[in-house]
Subunit: 136 residues, 4 copies
Amino acid sequence: MQTSPSFNWPVQVYYEDTDAGGVVYHSKYLNFMERARTEWLRANGFGQKQLSDDKGLVFAVTAMDVKFLAPAHLDDKLFVSVKLVKVGRASLNLEQEIIRESDNRVLIRATAKVAMLNDQFKPTRIPTSLLTVLKV
Amino acid sequence: MQTSPSFNWPVQVYYEDTDAGGVVYHSKYLNFMERARTEWLRANGFGQKQLSDDKGLVFAVTAMDVKFLAPAHLDDKLFVSVKLVKVGRASLNLEQEIIRESDNRVLIRATAKVAMLNDQFKPTRIPTSLLTVLKV
Amino acid sequence: MQTSPSFNWPVQVYYEDTDAGGVVYHSKYLNFMERARTEWLRANGFGQKQLSDDKGLVFAVTAMDVKFLAPAHLDDKLFVSVKLVKVGRASLNLEQEIIRESDNRVLIRATAKVAMLNDQFKPTRIPTSLLTVLKV
Amino acid sequence: MQTSPSFNWPVQVYYEDTDAGGVVYHSKYLNFMERARTEWLRANGFGQKQLSDDKGLVFAVTAMDVKFLAPAHLDDKLFVSVKLVKVGRASLNLEQEIIRESDNRVLIRATAKVAMLNDQFKPTRIPTSLLTVLKV
């Protein structure tokens, strides 16, 4: 497998995302990164509700390492990237960045490990149909 | 039934609750009011997870009317009240206020209607065991 | 002034918006409605950060009346409408709905009153430049 | 300096914290950890609003490494620990855990680096008065 090209998803910063420090609240960047992972899966043909309803499968984040390099502000337009760096039998390793459109500055650099869980919340194999798409 | 005395629940304001305007983000007051309703039910002997797991019942908010009178700030300590004003067969009407401890100012005045739903999300009778407690 | 046509803004439902009941957490609909108001202002040429930075002005919600008619679920695509129904000197009255794309069902029906506040958080006149645009 | 004993702060899980997977949404644990850091500072005599208003100082998270070991559920009571492991001139390194009261299970293990920023969002020395308290 070669490293996949990165997927990008736009995110607009609203009042709900900011805090009294005048910047985006730190944990909200994790929400933005999860939106991008969701849309990356959807772009690959896999909706999370469908995975859950049809196969009882959910992706759960098991580890994140996040560098908060610079803050985003109200009304900023951001791009959140998703780059698949390792495919395991029951987990995926991803690299993600959040970049501000106006000045191309990298605000966040992160790695995330997500595990495939069955309806008992036990680690389980990623469906072949999904692996096939991701490994192309 | 006589109007019940009001129940009060303390809430501390953290950065996560505020926005770039320097005050608590408006929808967060609804979260605070839901925490108070949850603790009011718990104080009456009913946990929401237990209601859901054991009987397949959940309370869902069907209507809220909220007046945002004055803003709360970071580090404010608030009290959220719950006052039961009407008990229907499948719903409850509540009045709620949010008061700041430091100056006793009423920041929020609201009414909420919550409906009892079964596991098909259909309105259903409130269990007699709960009604009995609430009507005392 | 005639009633303005309504503005529509798409919102995608992510895991972050849902709760353990399997549906969108009730206060999140207020976030969705605020996103639509923000984009409606932006579409009329007014960014909220710019209003705040340049003129020290912010819009604050002073009242909301919300009917929660039916729940949204994970992966639903929603449309949030904004319809201006009254323009005061220091406030706006809006009607908003949230509609699910897949079945065109109205999930939320709400009214919101937003007030223009100066940097002392006191009600103040809406700038003529903004009024002019809104009253067209 | 010897390693400080850990500080513990209780957190109750509400519907707002959970997602459609039936567990606490992953980024919410970061909110819980920030609440504990805030209360740890407050217990040491330093309110964040006071630091910001009086001295123009804010603590900002610059890095987090989080292991999500097991999920919390609705109505769980959690304890969030804060252990200071390194004091720099302009930053603090902390270790944090989230433990469920009912079974004493460690759900989250994390390290956080927080930097002291001035009102220009530039790294700046931690006030001596705060350092003195933390180094005891």
